[in-house]
Amino acid sequence: MIRTLPQSNTFKWTYRAYVTLFFVYLALPLTVVCLMAFNNSVFPSLPWEGFTWAWFFGDEDPFIGVFNDRSILRSIGTSMFVAFWVSLLSIAVGTTNAFLFVRHDFKFKEFFYILMLLPLIIPGIILGISILVFSNAVANNLENATGMWFDGLRPGLPLVILGQFSFIATFATLVISARLEKFDRSLEEAALNLGATRLGAIRQITLPFLFPAIAGAGVVAILMSFENFNTTLMLVGSDAPLTINMFDRLKLGSTPVLNAVSLLLIVVSALLGLVSLLFQKRDKSS
């Protein structure tokens, strides 16, 4: 059962076969999606009509490639904008939350900690509709009272960002607290002892120590934001992030340009994931 115990060969090979099968299962759909990105057909499905780069670089209707498709490019931009703010907010609040829960004792701490975990057990769609309902009510009341418009409280990017932030902040908090937990407080005391101020000690010692976790949380936040669908769907306005745009396209009939986008996404997020993994590596080695 572990490396040091003798195992029968049948067992060993069955186990390996199972694991291999598992990874095949994981890889299959993605491989298929990626392959179809090169299918020379306007339909993203079999039969195979030959190889083409058109879904990346094509500019002739209907063979419009990713790089010439304004709305896809725009929604990628939107997604990046959303992801940027979501991850910024999440790591900011995640960091303060981590300090709050790791460093401080206060009344009902346990209770507040469970509240902090709540977004993990609230389905995303419900987060979406509750925020929608709430902001809608607030906006209606404000508009009735002031006669002004509060577009920021209506579905649109601000709400999308807040909606995603509402649960990604919990993940960021968990990742960052885990590392802060491992932080040896005597390092901070040593810095004080050597003449640093309180904030100086946090800035020079604690934050650098937390950096791998903060960066990791940032990457996770970006990935989660990019791929989020359920919450976003309820809060999106005129600027659709990529997943929503792709969903709309799929509903109306799409070309393999979506496969091409997916392929690009896979490549980019794999790279991002690798980067975050490297951060974790470095963090372990230090």
């Binding site: 005597s186 040593a190 004080l192 002892n193 003449g195 100086g200 650098p208």
Partner: protein
Amino acid sequence: MSQQPASAQNTNAAAAFDLECRNINKDFDGFKAVNNVSFNVPTGTFFSILGPSGCGKTTLLRMVAGFQTPSSGDLLIKGKSMLGVPPNKRPVSMVFQHLALFPMMDIAANVGFGLRQRGVPREDIAKRVETVLERVGLPGVGSRHISQLSGGQKQRVAIARCMVLEPDVLLLDEPLGALDLKLREHMKIELKKLQSEFGTTFVYITHDQSEALVMSDQIAVMNHGEFEQVGAARELYHEPKTAFVAGFVGEANSFTAKVDSINGDAATLVSDDGLNIKGHDASGNLQQGDKAKVYVRPESIRLATSANQLDNVENLNQGIIENILFNGANSHILLREEKSGGELNVAIPQTGQFRDLTRGDKVYIGWEAAQTRCYKES
């Protein structure tokens, strides 16, 4: 940089002591972690605080460093009260139990950290860092990473990081605790040497008596938040003032006994097992009928194969060897005293005289009343 001149002035005025504690107390929600402790540490000495786990050593040290505020009492460094001075403004440095070297910086940056906080110019820092690293015997390691050093080297870097600031007092909280046995033996001697080289006052806390005994000029033995005895190593070892010190510092056979008669310092007692003991009243207040704790060091008990070899000793008994704990120069015999059935730990002399004793042998044992220290049991 800023506090150096201020404290220097004070030195001339008042203080022969680098550190003075006056009736320091520390309460944690009604629990007295440090109880009315006073002591003075003369300039340039190695002062140890020795005590079992949980006795309040760290709490005391952290009050000196400024991480904790005394509930009452005063605390002076070079004659200047430190109450209300935040830790980053005190002229003390601290070596932490796990050293607390900054893992995100290389060694030079670690050692230079304090100087950077003081705004010392960059080139100066580099120079002073290199100098202090040379002094601790690690020239040229500045650009290495912490993880590339051995345990003993890290220790020295931690000390260098403090010493570069030229503190009035260096505090050390069990800095050898995390090292392995052989390295610990070695670092004991090393630390002592570094201290005498720098000439800085060290306040060292430990629960390992051999560390305290080997290194210190003065040792304070602490128990339950209080100082039991302060003195040089030999004083504590040979003339412990309290039962706790007698039992905690060095090995000892201990008995609980009842005072049978008392004559000046000379006491006659009967142990709970029924052993007759002649001892020396170390607490100075024993009275007939008192319960007492009696301590005899293993090396004070002499072995003999016949009774007449032990003529001049007041306590003479016989025992059967139960176990020989051979440990080179530091071997012991565990034997069972015949009359009382109690177990005794006897050191085997290094002379090799009793090398061929074996289990089951019957031997005579004797020890002098003067080396049998009795303390009234409270």
